[in-house]
C-alpha cells in the first residue's frame, strides 16, 4: 500500500511497495496501484481523504473523524470508521454473548475507565466517544435520556447516564487523572437472564520484588487493531457493509454531544433520537 513520503519510516516498517509525493498524486496518478485505503490522519484531514478515496471507489478504513460527518454521507465505496475499542477481545466476547441471547435483554451497562493524563484525548468529545459508542452498540440504539455529572474538584473526570429504550441504562465514569502508568477499564453488562464482566481487576498478575506486591495487568495485545483490520478485509472480500458504519459514528457523536450538553446545562437531555 503506498504511503506519503512523510510516512516513509512507518511505511518501510509495514513493507510498503512504493511512495508518493502527495495524497493528490496518490489518488490521481497511482490509483491503480492499490485496492483499499486506511487513513490515520487528524480529524480535519481524515474526512477529506476518506471522501477522495471513496470517490475513487476504494474501500476505506478511517479513524478520528470530525463531528460533522455529512460530507461523507454519500460515500461511493465501503467506508468503515475505525471504532477500535469494539474489537478488543474482551468486548467482542461480551457482545457475542449479547447477540447469542445468552444474557437476555441488555439491562445495564456499567463502565469505569481511568486513564493517565498523557493518554487522555484533549477534546472531551473524543474522551467519551468510545464509551458512548459501546453503549449505543450494545443497546442497539441511541439514548433517549442523558444526564451528566462532573467533579468541580477534578476537571478530568466525567460521569454520565444514558437511558435507552425498554428501561435500558448505561452508567459510565471516565477519569483522566490517574498517575502516569497503566490505565484501568471495567465493563459489566447486566442482562435479563445473565451478566458479563470484562474487568481489568480480574486480570491482574502479581509481581513480588519487595514491599507490597505490584499488580501486573495481563495484556490483550493489539488484537483490537488486527480484529478491526480483519473485519475491514472480510467486508471487502464478501462485498458487504462493514460491521461499523458511518451511522454508528454519527450516533455515538450525537450521544456524546448530548452528554456534553447535559454537563454544560446541568439539565437532563432527552428526546433526541438520531438513528
Amino acid at each position: 500500500m503506498p504511503l506519503n513520503d512523510n510516512d516513509s519510516l512507518a511505511g518501510q516498517s509495514l513493507g510498503q511497495a512504493t511512495t508518493t509525493k502527495s495524497t493528490e498524486a496518490l489518488f490521481t496518478e497511482q490509483a491503480n496501484d492499490f485496492d483499499a485505503v486506511v487513513i490515520d490522519a487528524n480529524p480535519s484531514q481524515a474526512a477529506s481523504l476518506a471522501k477522495a478515496a471513496t470517490a475513487l471507489g476504494k474501500p476505506t478504513l478511517v479513524g478520528q473523524l470530525p463531528g460533522d460527518l455529512d460530507v461523507l454521507s454519500q460515500a461511493d465505496a465501503l467506508l468503515m470508521p475505525a471504532h477500535t475499542w469494539r474489537f478488543l477481545p474482551s468486548i467482542q466476547a461480551v457482545k457475542r454473548s449479547i447477540d447469542a441471547g445468552k444474557l437476555g435483554e441488555p439491562c445495564l451497562l456499567r463502565i469505569h475507565r481511568w486513564l493517565p493524563p498523557e493518554s487522555t484525548p484533549e477534546s472531551i468529545a473524543e474522551h467519551i466517544l468510545p464509551d458512548t459508542d459501546l453503549a449505543c452498540w450494545m443497546f442497539g440504539g441511541a439514548p433517549e435520556k442523558v444526564w451528566t455529572l462532573q467533579s468541580a474538584a477534578n476537571p478530568d473526570y466525567i460521569q454520565f447516564h444514558l437511558g435507552f429504550a425498554n428501561d435500558g441504562m448505561a452508567m459510565i465514569d471516565i477519569a483522566g487523572s490517574l498517575p502516569a502508568a497503566d490505565g484501568y477499564f471495567s465493563l459489566s453488562m447486566i442482562g435479563g437472564t445473565g451478566a458479563a464482566y470484562a474487568d481489568d481487576h480480574h486480570n491482574m498478575n502479581l509481581l513480588y520484588s519487595g514491599g507490597q506486591p505490584n499488580a501486573l495487568r495481563t495484556n490483550q495485545g493489539r488484537a483490537d487493531l488486527t480484529g478491526q483490520l480483519q473485519e475491514f478485509v472480510e467486508a471487502i472480500s464478501e462485498q458487504r457493509e462493514a460491521a461499523v458504519t458511518l451511522a454508528d459514528t454519527s450516533r455515538a457523536a450525537a450521544a456524546s454531544a448530548q452528554v456534553i450538553e447535559s454537563a454544560q446545562t446541568k439539565q437532563v437531555i432527552e428526546g433526541k433520537e438520531c438513528n
Binding site: 467533579s151 452508567m171 477519569a175 490517574l178 447486566i190 451478566a195 481487576h201 437532563v268
Partner: protein
Amino acid sequence: MANPEKTFRACVLSVVKHDYLPRAVAAHPRFELLVVADDADQPDWVHERNQRFADEFGIPYVRDVAKAIAEHDLDLAAVSSEAERHCDLAVRAADAGLHVIADKPMSTRLSECDQLVEAVQRNNIKFLLWNRNYLPALIQAKEVVQSGAIGELHAIHVDFYFSKDAGPPKGARQPGDPPINWLERQIEAHADGSDGGVGIEAMGELQIEGIYPLGYIRMLTGADVRRVFARTATHFHQANVDNNVDDLATVSLELDNGIVGSLCIGRIGAASHPDIGEIKIHAIGSRGGIVITEARPEVSIHYRDQPPLEFKNKRIANENDFLLMDDFARALDTGCEPILNARGGRDIAATVFAAVESGETGQPVEVTPLK
C-alpha cells in the same frame, strides 16, 4: 467511661426477618439476650417466628413490648421487625431509655426516620443501624483512603449486584394469574434468606439494600449526599413487576466538598454470578485510585455433584457482625457514636427516597435535609 466489664442486657423487639442481628447480639460476650417481645396484635406468622427464636435461646417471648421492657432491667433493644415497624419499635425503646440496634432499612418513610433521630437525641441514647462497614475489604478501603495513598477523594462508585433470585422471574405470570402478593412472597422467602424486603409495603432493591453501598460511601467520604439523579427499572423478578418496585437502579450522587459518586444496584438473579454477586468499590483521588472487591478475602471450593446454587467462592475472615457489636459496646462504654448512627442512617434513607423520586420523575432531586 462506663465499666468495660459490664454485660449489656438486651431484648429483641420482633425477629421476623433475617435473624443475624439478634444472633450477633447473643454471640458477643458483652451482650446478653433476655427476652423477645412484640405487640399482641401482630399476625400469627410474626408470633410464630418470635416464639421459635425465643425457644432456641431459652428466653421468654412476651406479647407486650412495654411489659417486657418494664420487667427485665434492660440496656438495649435489638429491632428486627418488618421495615415499616422499625422506627416505631425503635422510638418506643428509646423513649423507655434503651439503646437501640435496628436492622436495615431504617424505615419505609423519611418522616419516621426524622422522628427516630429526634427520639435518639431527646433520650440521649445510642443507636446503631446494621450495616456491612466492617467487612474485611471495607476495613482495607477505609485504611487506604484515610492513609492518603490516593490523595484527596474526588469520586467514589459502588456497584452492588446481588445475584439472588427473588421468586418467579419476570414474565413468569400467566394470563389470569393474580399478581404476586408482596408479603406472602416475602414470608415464603424466609426459608432461603431472600426476605430482606419482608413487610406489607413493597420495597425495591434501592430501599432494601441501598443502605449498604451508601453506608460505604458515607464511611469513606465522611460527606452528606446533596442531590441525586436516578434511573430505576424492573427487569428481573415478577414480584417486583407486580408490586411496581425496582430491581435495578443507577444513581448519580453529588456530595459535600465537591465529591461526586454513583451507585449501581440490582438483584440480578442467581444465574448472573457464580457467588452472591458482583460488589465493587471504585474510588478516585487526587493522586490515584483504588478498586476494592467487597467479597475478598475468599476461598474457592469446587467438587463433584456440587449443588448448582452453592457459592463456589466463599467469603472468609468475615467478622462484620462481631465487629459491629464491638463498635456498639465501645459506643456504650465511651459515649462515642457508633459507626452508623441514627443521623447517618436517616441521611442514607433520605438519599434513597430522593433516588426513588428521581427514578419516577426522571429529574435530579435534592436530598431532604434533617430539619
